[in-house]
Amino acid sequence: MSADILLAARGIGKRFGGVQALHDVAVTIRRGEVYGLIGPNGAGKTSFFNVLTGLYSADEGSVLFDGAALPLGAPHRIAGAGIARTFQNIRLFGAMSALENVMVGRHIRLRTGVFGAILRTPAARAEEAATVERARQLLDYVGIGRLAGQQATHLSYGDQRRLEIARALASEPKLLALDEPAAGMNATETAGLRALLEKLRGDGLTVLLIEHDVKLVMGLCDRVAVLDYGEKIAEDVPAVVRGDPRVIAAYLGTEAA
């Protein structure tokens, strides 16, 4: 396995009862690229995504991430290994402020335990101050620094998306996995999101993008994979994938024989 490959999923299979949601899916993501995963509704995109981030356990297959086997089925350990995610239907900690949401995102990188917290040891104090500082930087980075004190549920839709990305970045991920970040966004918000993703790529972050908005994926991604009925039917640069007859068939249907 060459050093520039960050993630290699092999033979991933997942069944829900009698439904084969994923069948023998293999994906390789290289360091520093924006990798798109598209497919029609029900193709298994989100299932695959949930396997990668540990929310579902896989029935078959394994994932090699940054040189080590990914602990599938254990979300918090996967977060620790360096995969951070956002959710299709935004999942923020509603009663907390934007700043606190990002601070929770840093949880896995912090060490303070019960006694450190109660005694407020110098180490705990320093860690807490650094966490606040880092959270503020991240809010500035995604462009909502002025909203730090606002309650998460009071942010606009687009800003909630940005907050979720900031929270994911707080764990210092090697791979940022975004589940349909443009869903429900208007044209202006999508353009803003795209600019943010370009910025992330510019800073060398590897991004896995699941998206419905084919235009966004084709314009942004370095490589794209297409899922249909739980199987990967294509994987290449956007220009090639766009012309692939199987992809066209998956999206538009085949002509009646």
């Binding site: 918090h76 999942r91 009663a95 907390m96 929770v104 995102g105 949880h107 912090l110 303070t112 309650q151």
Partner: protein, 371 residues
């Protein structure tokens, strides 16, 4: 949010509150009698209990209907060690009550209750809401029934009769059970207990504030708000929930030990479901997850029944010229009415945290906006 800020104004305010709390039992004892100081003592115990339950219910959002079991564990540990019960039940093994010092029993009670907390937490990790409530309710009852029946084959708890003759706590060689003369001032046992309980209550508040304002406190609230997202953020929800159960139970264990030493007698009757519900009411009515609110809820709900008991008869005499309804039954009725009214008009509790209040306001405003 910094609960222990060092602003001069806040410091002066805290000094005033501290002074008021110090003088309170003396004033109350001198004016309306020592039975009210006793009620204050119980109010302090309930503050500790409510703050402990608040960690589980308020912070981590895990509904616990069996919390009083931890109070029972702490109380029985203290009772068994500080009473002649062991010597009577097992004369071959114990010549007299072990009578360990209070600074050893209380932490032991905390530890034991905390372990029971983890024990309860472990099978409930995947449960939420109503299911969790049912399991915790069952746990609370199991502990009570055990206490009721553990008098055979080995008499450990003395069954339904309970344990008697529990020695009061000794602090710095001073028994809290006997009155003390200080600067010509007679301090009765209830007042001594008041100061002892107050000191421990302040410690509990301090620990709660520190925990809330930490990585762990944030993790609890994150789990309450969205468990799936919390896991995706790298929070080990299993451990963090068990910590909530364990730490919450710890406070219950300490309060239980204090209760046993104060009361001198424990029996399973004191640890029924109604007590669990009462403590839960204090947390919810005061303002879930908000420490000052929970304290307010505990103080109000422990004083209110006594005030009603005390005021109901004279008030009826004044209004109708005679006592129409027995104060004892009226007390529960009025208590229920008060609960319903508070929940109807202040659903977030009497004193909710600022963020939570705004959230509820927003929910109420939303339908109005659409209309």
């Amino acid at each position: 949010m910094n609960g222990l800020s060092a602003k001069p104004g806040a410091r002066a305010g805290m000094l005033l509150v501290g002074l008021a709390l110090a003088v309170l039992p003396l004033l109350v004892g001198a004016t309306i009698g020592n039975s009210w100081v006793r009620i204050l003592d119980f109010a302090l115990l309930y503050v500790m209990l409510a703050l402990g339950l608040n960690i589980v219910v308020g912070f981590a959002g895990l509904l616990d209907l069996g919390y009083i079991a931890f109070y029972a564990v702490g109380a029985y540990l203290y009772a068994i060690i500080s009473s002649p019960h062991l010597a009577t039940a097992f004369p071959a093994v114990f010549a007299a009550a072990p009578g360990w010092p209070v600074w050893l029993i209380l932490p032991l009670g905390a530890l034991l209750a905390g372990s029971f907390g983890v024990l309860l937490g472990a099978p409930t990790l995947k449960l939420r809401g109503d299911y969790l409530a049912i399991v915790t309710l069952g746990f609370g009852e199991i502990i009570r029934i055990f206490l009721n029946n553990l008098n055979a084959p080995l008499n450990i708890t003395n069954g339904p009769q309970g344990i008697n003759n529990i020695a009061p706590a000794q602090v710095a060689g001073l028994s809290l059970g006997r009155p003390v003369e200080l600067f010509g001032l007679q301090l009765p046992s209830v007042t001594l207990h008041y100061y002892f309980f107050l000191a421990l209550t302040l410690l509990v508040i301090f620990v709660c504030v520190r925990l809330q304002d930490s990585r762990l406190g944030r993790a609890w609230v994150a789990i309450r708000e969205d468990e799936v997202a919390a896991r995706a953020c790298g929070i080990n929800t299993r451990n963090v929930k068990l910590l909530a159960f364990g730490l919450g139970a710890t406070f219950g264990g300490v309060a239980g030990g204090l209760f046993a030493g104060f009361q001198g007698f424990v029996s399973p009757e004191s640890f029924g479901l109604l007590e669990s519900v009462m403590v839960l009411c204090m947390v919810v009515l005061g303002g879930m997850g908000h420490i000052p609110g929970v304290i307010l809820g505990a103080v109000l709900l422990s004083l209110l029944p006594e005030v009603l008991r005390w005021g109901a008869a004279p008030l009826q005499q004044l209004l109708f010229g005679k006592v129409l309804i027995d104060p004892e039954s009226l007390r529960l009725l009025l208590f229920g009415v008060a609960l319903v009214l508070v929940m109807r008009f202040r659903p977030a509790g009497l004193w909710p945290s600022a963020l939570r209040r705004r959230e509820l306001d927003a929910h109420e405003a939303a339908p109005g906006d659409a209309a």
